[in-house]
Amino acid sequence: MSSSRTITRISTRDAAEEEPSVTRERLKDRFPRGSTRRMTQLGLLVGDVLMDMDPGPDDAIIYISRYAETRALEQYLESFPTASPTLFQTSIHPSAVQQVMIGRQLPVREFLPITGNEQLVAQGLTAALVSPASRVLLCGGEERGTWLLEQGVASDRNFAFACALSRDPDGALGRVTMGNEVCPPEVPLGLEEFFRRLTDREPFTLVAPSAQRISWTWE
């Protein structure tokens, strides 16, 4: 299989070790009034970059994150034995995207939340390349944990990214292509390193677990 998409938009945010309250104050004007109060830090960051893509109902959204809603998960666990219904809802993996799309009442046909570890980026790109949607919005990110981070099961950094991958060749910032050749395995590209390459506009290649090479190039 050979498949290709045009990179037409890209947006990245590095919030490093920023506290959630600072992110909320900084981004509150990007969201409908009153909607940020219950949004998570990751929801704010993912929402910020996703809105740069102007999502439409026929787009496919692919969301990739290793840990997803760490803070909500931590706080939900802390709420026992009187479990918090709100934190239960927001602790689910795809919540960041749902927070922003629900806040703006934006339905979307296809939403594929993917998690994973070393192969997460490769699998997200593969899903984008086999999607029949005319435009795929590939987004993702992480939020910095607290007590789960101390135990090594959370991200140590806040970041988010989104890119629009189109079948239409117009307006190309670059291309992502999956080749036909079968390749030997290589060291996988992790999510943070993918984010850095997007931020720095660096090209890369990786070998997907299906043994196909995926190339990301810039114009």
């Binding site: 299989m1 339905p107 395995p185 299906s210």
Partner: protein, 370 residues
């Protein structure tokens, strides 16, 4: 559109409180109820709520977690090998993965639980136990996640990126999830009665695991995935649009694929009132001649695994010519097409299976003889 290429299902089975798919199918035909009143927080007590746990299992998580043993037991029936290799990917789908281990860690401070607590760590533990290669992909979209696994599997084989794909779903309950649904007041101690018009809605929850092997349409096999659809309302976290538009948008694609076929309907039907009424109404409008059933009044809602668990049971029904009714429910029902008792499906060509999830997520598939 959510174009999904036709794909063959060459193997499929599940594990519920009643056992494997044939045993569960038989129990449902007999109208047996697996749900039993159980303290919502396990060893920490709390209100009694209806749960259907796998045999010899308690709600509190063990070390190592029991889902590893149950997955190994289920997949011991799986034909073939080389799973996780470049041409034989594994798609793992769940809603909770190993999050019960994080709850256990929070409760007892035993750091060994952390090795199972994140979704990717739980899948890595599965891969290690079952000797899979690195070609695994993990979907996490709450209670429609199994449908996403089947959809992606169909695309991988259609794109010739895989010769066959193993889709595995597992969701075992823990106080993490029972506490959450109890806090939402829909796991409220009453037994669920899907599609029954009553004053108060309620759900039950159940353990579930299931697998399917998806191959290209050219492969030999008994059943085909004839169409698949998804739709995300993004209207409210726990409620649907009151006009039922989200249900209709998802079902619409299946309706056109099912034209000319006689189909029966296996709905999501958890026992909540608003969603159940909307679902039953939209399905009856789209398929006015088709009987509708739900099995969650017996098995409970098996969360992220429900789409695949109930597909395995649907295939049993198609194979045996007899579908279970809607255990736990009585008249009056939301619509007149709801079947409370088992019925013959030998005159039907195919079945429609639906699932719904948080965020107004909808998924549906059409399955029938190859």
């Amino acid at each position: 559109m959510t174009p999904a290429p036709v794909a063959r299902i060459t193997a499929c089975d599940c594990l519920t409180a009643f056992g494997d798919a044939p045993a569960t199918h038989q129990a449902l035909l007999e109208g047996r109820i697996a749900l039993e009143p159980t303290p919502v927080l396990g060893s920490r007590g709390g209100d009694a709520v209806p749960l259907a746990l796998l045999p010899d299992r308690v709600l509190d998580e063990d070390l190592p977690p029991r889902w590893l043993d149950f997955a190994e037991r289920l997949l011991s029936k799986l034909p073939g090998d080389g799973w996780g290799s470049p041409r034989r990917p594994v798609i793992v789908t769940s809603s909770n993965f190993g999050v019960g281990s994080l709850y256990a860690y929070r409760l007892n401070g035993d750091a060994r639980n952390l090795a199972y607590g994140t979704p990717f760590a739980s899948v890595e533990q599965l891969a290690k136990r079952l000797d899979w290669g690195p070609n695994t992909i993990t979907f996490s979209h709450a209670c429609v996640t199994a449908h996403l696994g089947l959809l992606h599997a169909s695309r991988l084989v259609d794109a010739r990126l895989a010769e066959k794909v193993l889709v595995l779903s597992f969701d075992l309950l823990s106080p993490f999830v029972t506490g959450g649904f109890h806090a939402l007041k829909i796991l409220n101690g009453m037994m669920p009665a899907p599609y029954e018009a009553r004053d108060v809605g309620s759900i039950g929850l159940g353990d579930g695991l299931a697998f399917a092997v998806v191959e290209p349409a050219s492969a030999a096999g008994e059943f085909s995935l004839l169409a698949q659809a998804v739709y995300n309302e993004m209207h409210h976290f726990t409620a649907n649009r009151a006009d039922g538009a989200g249900f209709a948008a998802c079902i619409r694609e299946i309706t056109s694929a099912a034209a000319g076929r006689r189909v029966w309907l296996k709905g999501h039907g958890t026992g909540t009132l608003e969603a159940g009424k909307l679902e039953a109404g939209e399905l009856a409008a789209a398929f006015p001649e088709s009987p509708l059933v739900s099995w969650k009044g017996s098995l409970g809602h098996t969360l992220g695994s429900c789409g695949l668990v109930e597909l395995a049971l649907t295939l049993c029904a198609l194979r045996n010519g007899r579908a279970p009714g809607t255990p736990g429910s009585r008249t009056p029902t939301f619509t007149s097409n709801i079947m409370l008792e088992p019925f013959s499906v030998s005159n039907f060509d195919a079945a429609v299976c639906t699932s719904n999830a948080f965020g107004g997520a909808h998924a549906a598939l059409l399955v029938g003889a190859a």
